[in-house]
């Protein structure tokens, strides 16, 4: 059974459509969303509706910091432009969509996998996993063999074996990586809706629990259209430019 893991969608309809189709073409039958459905992009309602439909069919979805902010939960720190996006987003979501965001869990355990938005030690604190030291903090606390998280927009794979030393690996798209049962893993699929590594193609990953194979993917989509919609919606132009450059 192949699960597609998608994160940091950021209201990017074009990227989500392309990735869902790509995932189905590659045999995905289950979907996991690691949060940040809204913010930055121009299609928050459409994206949330797709996620809700899939959750109704059994998909897993956890909550990100942008989702919390949009749902009106206090205490989320965002910069000025991001705050503007969230206010715009709130104005474009209906009560049902806002309620869906507010009710999302912060963490979901599923077999060998833990799904969170930012990290496993304090999912609601939204600290970033910026390198091996943060990954080590996660792997020290989390008992699950594999942690999947988003929040960082660049795809990355951390692993720790018997020596307790954490290694980092920059994944090659389309390559099946066997996740050895003799070590523990922290996988960051990369952002679907706001990639930030210089490649505008959308990121996501698939995981097959039976064969233990994890694959990172890059999916080209009509990012120019998604960028244009951001500008037309009157949202901060830098988020459109980031879609065009992938940084």
């Amino acid at each position: 059974m192949t699960t597609a893991i998608l994160t940091d969608l950021h209201a990017n309809r074009e990227a989500l459509e392309a990735c869902l189709e790509h995932a189905r073409d590659h045999g995905a039958t289950q979907f996991v969303f690691l949060g940040d459905y809204v913010g930055y992009g121009a299609d928050p309602g459409w994206v949330l509706d797709r996620v809700r439909e899939l959750v109704a069919l059994g998909a897993v979805a956890v909550r990100g910091n942008h989702d919390e902010a949009a749902a009106g939960i206090e205490g989320i720190r965002l910069n000025t432009d991001a705050r503007r996006c969230i206010e715009w987003t709130r104005a474009h979501l209906d009560p049902g969509q806002l309620d869906f965001l507010a009710r999302l869990p912060l963490r979901v355990l599923d077999g060998p996998c833990l799904y969170v938005h930012a990290n496993g030690w304090d999912p609601g604190g939204y600290e970033y996993i910026m390198g091996p030291a943060d990954a080590a903090r996660n792997l020290a606390v989390v008992r699950s063999r594999i942690t999947f998280c988003g929040h960082m927009h660049v795809p990355m794979l951390y692993h720790m074996g018997l020596t307790q030393r954490v290694e980092v690996f920059s994944p090659v798209p389309g390559t099946e990586i066997p996740l050895s049962a003799a070590r523990r893993w922290l996988a960051i699929p990369g952002s679907l809706g706001q990639p930030r590594d210089g490649d505008p193609a959308a990121c996501y990953a698939t995981f097959d629990e039976l064969s233990n194979l994890l694959t990172f993917w890059r999916v080209p989509y009509d990012h120019e259209r998604a960028a244009r919609k951001i500008v037309e919606a009157g949202l901060p132009g830098r988020y459109a430019l980031q879609l065009l450059d992938g940084i």
Binding site: L157, H159, G161, L162, T163, F169, S170, T175, P178, S180
Partner: protein, 521 residues
């Protein structure tokens, strides 16, 4: 042997079931693992000889992280590999119960016993080296660096193909390196470890060429080039000390083989062969080895020249990243040249194409090939090959053709094939030498040709690699060698031209005079 302190709850004794396999008998015990012959457990009591010969590799998990991580690495990499040069994997047992790998059993002994017979005759050393280099090339093509090439890890199939075993130190270019930075000590085997491995750089496929160089040195001379050091200090000596020249030990070794071996043993990987295929190519074509000061060196031990530059070149680079040199960046390009006078324009165009390819691939080497067409009957009758003069004349012409390219000798070689069937000869050459890209000329569209076929169409259809068919504008061919040449175009783009006559007669076998040079159409 018998029951070992291996991981897992299973007592490892003959008859015990492990996974879906039944242990028959231990066949080998190494430092890190035990090998058992096994049969499928669902055929109880069946003697091993009746089942497909299989062995189970079970790690000895003696609290040594290297052996555990090494086994993880092998479990990760070996099942992904294909082809005759690696053992076929049948089953994998996970770490949750009993870790193991079941693979085909190779009956031949490893290369290890041959060391005791060394020095071997240089021709056999070259032959063995070529086979091992072919296996390495196929491994590198699959994005894997072995990192532990040594005689005990090299076996042979009955047909002669080399099989590489033990991937416990291997590195897959596209997978996490579980061993990088995991350990403070260099990972490898003392006599064979490359300078960059000593410096803990695991990103260069040419490390395997260094190890193969050590193997060939030992087989050819009966001695190890760097001894068998066990300390890190001892390993580091190869960074600044040259080995004794092989010919100073064994004077029967020809200069070309010393050139090849010492080139493999260069401290700076950039001075070794760019790929295992290029090494295999030189071992298979001794005449094409460009001899340098390496070939003539007769000194005893000494220091490497330009030491500072070398050490800078191999200073450690960030680990865990992509290999320093793309494994596929060093193709063998073959230019199939027809030396007939009326093919001159096309030969020029092939040279232009070759220039472009060589510019884009600075590590590529060019094999210039022409076919001296032999009468089939003459060959069968054992008649003397086309007068040696004719052969040499072709060789000189090829060299003349290639001169404008300005390539250094080590990137260039010349081959005059003698065969009744030019396309067949070119194909055979391309297969045997693992050519990556063939450049061949074609004389444009011809309705007759569509029915009869031509050398270029046969190459396109049957070649094991990329084929570029080079053409020249028709007007130019009619007016002789070109003043205004159009760039060569891809195959099939001239379909609108009227058919040309088969003036050269080179499209129909036997139509032209026998012994005409021909490798195009």
């Amino acid at each position: 042997m018998g029951s070992e302190p291996a991981a897992g709850a299973f007592p490892l004794v003959p008859g015990a079931q492990v996974g879906r396999w039944r242990l028959v008998e231990p066949v080998h015990r190494g430092g890190m693992a035990v090998l058992w012959s096994v049969v499928p457990a669902d055929v109880p009591g069946r003697p091993a000889g009746d089942a497909a010969p299989a062995i189970m590799k079970i790690p000895l998990l003696q609290e040594d992280p290297t052996s555990i991580v090494g086994f993880e690495v092998e479990q990760m990499i070996l099942p992904r590999l294909r082809g005759p040069h690696v053992p076929r994997v049948m089953d994998i047992g996970g770490f949750d119960t009993q870790p193991y790998i079941v693979m085909e059993r190779l009956e031949e002994p490893s290369l290890r016993p041959r060391l005791d017979e060394s020095p071997l005759h240089f021709a056999e050393v070259a032959q063995l080296g070529m086979r091992i280099a072919e296996a390495l090339h196929e491994l590198h093509e699959q994005h894997v660096i072995h990192h532990d090439i040594k005689p005990s890890n090299i076996m042979f199939r009955p047909g002669g193909a080399a099989v590489l075993i033990d991937f416990g130190l291997a590195r897959h270019e596209r997978l996490p390196d579980l061993l990088a930075e995991q350990f403070r000590l260099p990972l490898g085997t003392g006599p064979y470890i490359s300078p960059e491995q000593v410096l803990r750089n695991r990103t260069d496929a040419r490390s395997d060429l260094f190890a193969l160089g050590v193997v060939l040195y030992h087989l050819a001379t009966g001695q190890r080039p760097f001894g068998a050091p066990t300390s890190v200090g001892g390993l580091r000596r190869r960074l600044y000390e040259q080995p004794v020249a092989p010919r100073a030990i064994e004077d029967a070794i020809p200069e070309w083989l010393q050139e090849v071996i010492l080139r493999c043993l260069e401290v700076d990987a950039g001075l070794r062969y760019a790929s295992a295929a290029q090494l295999a190519f030189e071992l298979a074509n001794p005449g094409s080895v460009a001899l340098t000061a390496r070939a003539r060196r007769m000194n005893r031990r000494g220091r490497w020249p330009r030491l500072g530059r070398i050490l800078r070149a191999i200073s450690p680079r960030p680990l865990g990243l992509a290999p320093a040199v793309p494994l596929r960046g060093a193709p063998i390009v073959m230019a199939a040249i027809d030396l007939s006078p009326d093919w001159e324009a096309i030969s020029d165009a092939i040279r232009t194409s070759a220039q472009r390819v060589l510019l884009a691939e600075p590590a590529a080497r060019l094999a210039c090939v022409t076919v001296l067409r032999m009468n089939r009957i003459a060959i069968e009758a054992g008649a003397e090959a086309a007068a040696p003069n004719r052969h040499i004349q072709r060789l000189v012409q090829l060299q003349h053709w290639a001169r404008p390219l300005g390539l250094p000798p080590e990137r260039l070689s010349f081959h005059v094939l003698e065969a009744p069937d030019p396309a067949g000869a070119v194909l055979e050459y391309a297969r045997a030498n693992r050519v990556d890209h063939i450049l061949v000329g074609s004389r444009g569209a011809s309705s007759l040709k569509r029915y009869l076929g031509s050398v270029s169409t046969q190459l396109v259809a049957e070649a094991p690699c990329t084929v570029t068919v080079v053409k020249v504008a028709r007007e130019e061919r009619e007016s002789g060698p070109a003043q205004r040449r159009e760039p060569p175009s891809s195959a099939g783009s001239r379909g609108d031209l009227p058919p040309d006559g088969l003036a050269g007669g080179d499209d129909v076998e036997g139509a032209g005079a026998a012994e005409e040079p021909s490798a195009g159409s």
